[in-house]
């Protein structure tokens, strides 16, 4: 009798274990491998480690097989993971990240040469190009909009918009966005070289003028009012971005700016990355739609880079000779800050070892942050 009880208890315990439950959901193993791959890429190859480590580990957490009903899983109401996930699900974390981005971004390069804002706007065509392709692939307009935002190369924006327009696709969209952001150094250079001539790559840009502190203080205030009057739906992102920047530039809230750009951003990044990773459960993630989303995300990055570079080339046609822009900064119109600007710089140095484009590329790069938030607001306004 006692032995029978022990056997029953052991059998019950066996049913609780991951070893048993993985037999019911074997696709979890694939997701565990994806998580391990992310961690490997982050640690070994330094691909966006701040994001890929939390996401990768989150994937491991979210795909350990278990018996539901004990408030463990991310989709089980009341569980710790579920509570943390609400910040993603309800779109709370992305604006907080934007607060930090605002507090750590120096818009001087953009203010010194404001026409670079247009490069940031042009690169957003990646989003809308991908939107059209997504529609052609059979996605509904709201889903297509959520997927297309990957082209903005901005993880928090992608999470924010997909949480509003297509929550069921959010995991795949977020992972896709962050993966391609990590792969920006691989995706962008060949396109940049393909679309530019040697002569264009050698263009030296006029050194940026000095930007006064007053201009820096005015920028977040005017920027908020102008952009949000156009796109009030972008308020959560743009409001926080410009607020963070005012904290930085005002000169009287240094402590707040430091906290926003360091401790707070780090904390939110940890929870955001982990929750997004954990939300990619095999049953939700391993679907044909995910493959399509990854394909569309890749396409969106290519279109964004292409449109940025081509826009600069076209823009150069109307600019006077001494004000011409180097088309290599066009790729930086996507908002992968500062990765995309660094790539412009690297490509510029390859063409001419004394031509440093980093500061010039930072202009479209930070304009891209604003541009992608505006684009997200537009999509939310039209499709929300």
């Amino acid at each position: 009798m006692v032995l029978l009880n022990i056997a029953n208890n052991l059998e019950q315990f066996w049913h609780f274990t991951g070893f048993y439950n993985v037999t019911l959901e074997p696709s979890s193993l694939i997701m565990l491998c994806v998580g391990l791959l992310f961690i490997y890429l982050a640690i070994k190859h330094d691909f966006e480690p701040m994001l890929l480590v939390p996401i990768g580990f989150g994937i491991l957490i979210g795909n350990i097989p278990f018996q539901p009903g004990n408030e463990i899983g991310i989709y089980e109401e009341g569980s710790v993971l579920n509570i943390l996930y609400q910040g993603v699900r309800q779109g709370w974390y992305p604006p907080l990240i934007f607060l930090g981005i605002g507090a750590m971004t120096d818009f001087s390069a953009l203010l010194a040469n404001p026409k670079l804002m247009l490069v940031g706007a042009a690169a957003q065509f990646g989003i809308f190009g991908a939107y059209m392709v997504a529609l052609a692939m059979g996605f509904m307009p709201d889903q297509a909009g959520a997927i297309a935002i990957i082209g903005g190369a901005d993880g928090p924006t992608a999470i924010f918009l997909s949480s509003k327009l297509a929550p069921n696709l959010m995991g795949a969209i977020a992972v896709s966005a962050y993966s391609y952001m990590a792969l920006v150094p691989v995706i962008q250079p060949p396109i940049m070289r393909l679309l530019t001539t040697k002569k264009e790559r050698l263009i030296r840009m006029k050194p940026a003028r000095k930007v006064s502190q007053t201009e820096k203080i005015i920028f977040p205030i005017v920027g908020l009012i102008l952009t949000c009057f156009f796109v009030p739906s972008g308020l959560p992102l743009l409001g926080m971005l410009f607020f963070g920047n005012l904290l930085r530039e005002s000169g009287v809230t240094t402590r707040l700016a430091k906290t926003a750009s360091n401790a707070m951003t780090d904390m939110v990044t940890i929870v955001l990355g982990m929750s997004v990773g954990a939300s990619t459960q095999a049953s939700e993630f391993l679907t044909p739609d995910t493959i399509k989303i990854f394909a569309l995300g890749f396409m969106a990055f290519i279109i964004a880079t292409t449109s940025g570079v081509l826009f600069v080339k076209i823009f150069n046609l109307i600019l006077p000779k001494h004000k011409k822009l180097n088309p290599l900064i066009g790729n930086a119109g996507v908002s992968a800050v500062p990765m995309a600007a660094r790539i412009s710089n690297d490509q510029g140095l390859k063409a001419d070892p004394s031509n440093y484009l980093l500061m010039h590329a930072m202009g479209p790069n930070v304009a891209g942050v604003i541009g992608s938030a505006v684009a997200a607001g537009v999509l939310l306004g039209f499709l929300g």
Binding site: A122, I127, S212
Partner: protein, 337 residues
């Protein structure tokens, strides 16, 4: 004072829960919706049209026509400084069968965003929070009004006398509600629902019409390729950033001009003594000394804040967290000395 009055009025209006609407009414309920005791009575459905939770406690539901209430307000306001909600409470006490103040303390009176709540007009307030003190009269026009906590009219409806039993008088769709205006009773937005079709379904505590996302349906139908949305969206993105560009181009010009002016003043200040010195004898060393002195004076001098403060010289942690700070330093022996 005017400003304070305006702010107070806006605040009062904001607190006034103006987003609540009477949404559907059934006067005679013979075989329809039942209450928690399985009893049937006429019912009034209220809809929270906003995107936030609205508490309806202390609001008023009444069958009294506005002229009666307004006359009472006018008469009483001349006599005393009482607020309108106090006057409505007095009216409730004097005409208890015609006006009902929704009680406080029931969590169910917090109406979630875009949600409905149903009141039974059974004349029995003892039955619970959602039971009204009056009964609607079949075969007659029934006027129902909703007043907010400040005693301001939120919404009203006149149910036609011809409404048959077991049929409701309802808004055609919740989407027709204008959140920016005050109550908007327009009879063409209402219809008699007999349950014969989906559009005429009787829907207590539910949406009268299926909520639809017009935007998505419209884009799916009218813009299947996405070109229209792309053009519009890129237009908006470009316009927003173009405005920023123009604005900061102008700011840039203004600030550059200001900087130039300041530079000119400085240069002038530097140039004038130099010229004089050159005229006096052309002594290069003197010119250099004057330039250096001016440079030191204008640019290179350290500016001290003039603020004295206490600052820790070493070790950021406090003595509470470190035993090292509590220990006496052991004298070090230096053999050289």
């Amino acid at each position: 004072m005017t400003l304070i009055a305006v702010v107070a009025a806006i605040t009062a209006s904001a607190q006034g829960r103006m987003d609540l609407r009477i949404n559907e009414v059934m006067v005679q309920n013979d075989s329809n919706y039942v209450d928690q005791y399985d009893h049937r009575a006429g019912w009034i459905e209220i809809f929270n049209a906003s995107h936030g939770t609205n508490g309806i406690e202390k609001m008023f539901i009444t069958t009294l026509k506005p002229n009666i209430i307004q006359d009472y307000f006018k008469a009483e306001e001349q006599k005393s400084n009482k607020k309108r909600n106090q006057l409505l409470q007095e009216l409730r006490d004097s005409r208890p069968g015609e006006i009902f103040e929704i009680p406080r303390g029931d969590v169910a009176t917090k109406v979630k965003p875009r949600s409905h709540v149903v009141f039974f007009a059974d004349g029995n307030i003892e039955a619970g929070t959602f039971h009204l003190p009056f009964i609607m009269k079949p075969g007659q026009e029934n006027y129902i009004a909703l007043y907010d906590v400040n005693g301001d009219l939120v919404d009203e409806v006149t149910v036609p006398a011809t409404l048959p039993a077991d049929q409701s008088y309802a808004r055609c769709s919740e989407d027709s509600i204008d959140l920016h205006g005050s109550h908007n009773f327009e009879s063409q937005l209402w219809q008699v629902c007999d349950g014969s079709t989906e559009a005429k379904a009787i829907t207590p505590a539910k949406f009268n019409a299926r909520p639809i996302n017009n935007n998505i349906d419209m884009f799916k139908k009218d813009d299947p390729s996405g070109i229209l949305l792309t053009l519009m969206s890129m237009g908006v993105v470009f316009s927003a950033l173009l405005m920023l560009y123009i604005m900061f181009k102008l700011f840039g010009k203004a600030f550059t001009a200001k900087d130039k002016k300041e530079d000119e003043v400085v240069n002038k200040a530097v140039e004038e003594p130099t010229t004089e010195a050159a005229q006096e004898g052309g002594n290069d060393e003197a010119i250099a000394a004057i330039c250096m002195a001016l440079y030191q004076h204008l640019n290179a001098h350290d500016e001290e804040s003039g603020v004295l403060t206490f600052d820790r010289t070493h070790e950021l942690h406090s003595a509470w967290g470190s035993k090292g700070n509590l220990l006496l330093r052991v004298p070090e022996r230096h053999d050289n000395h």
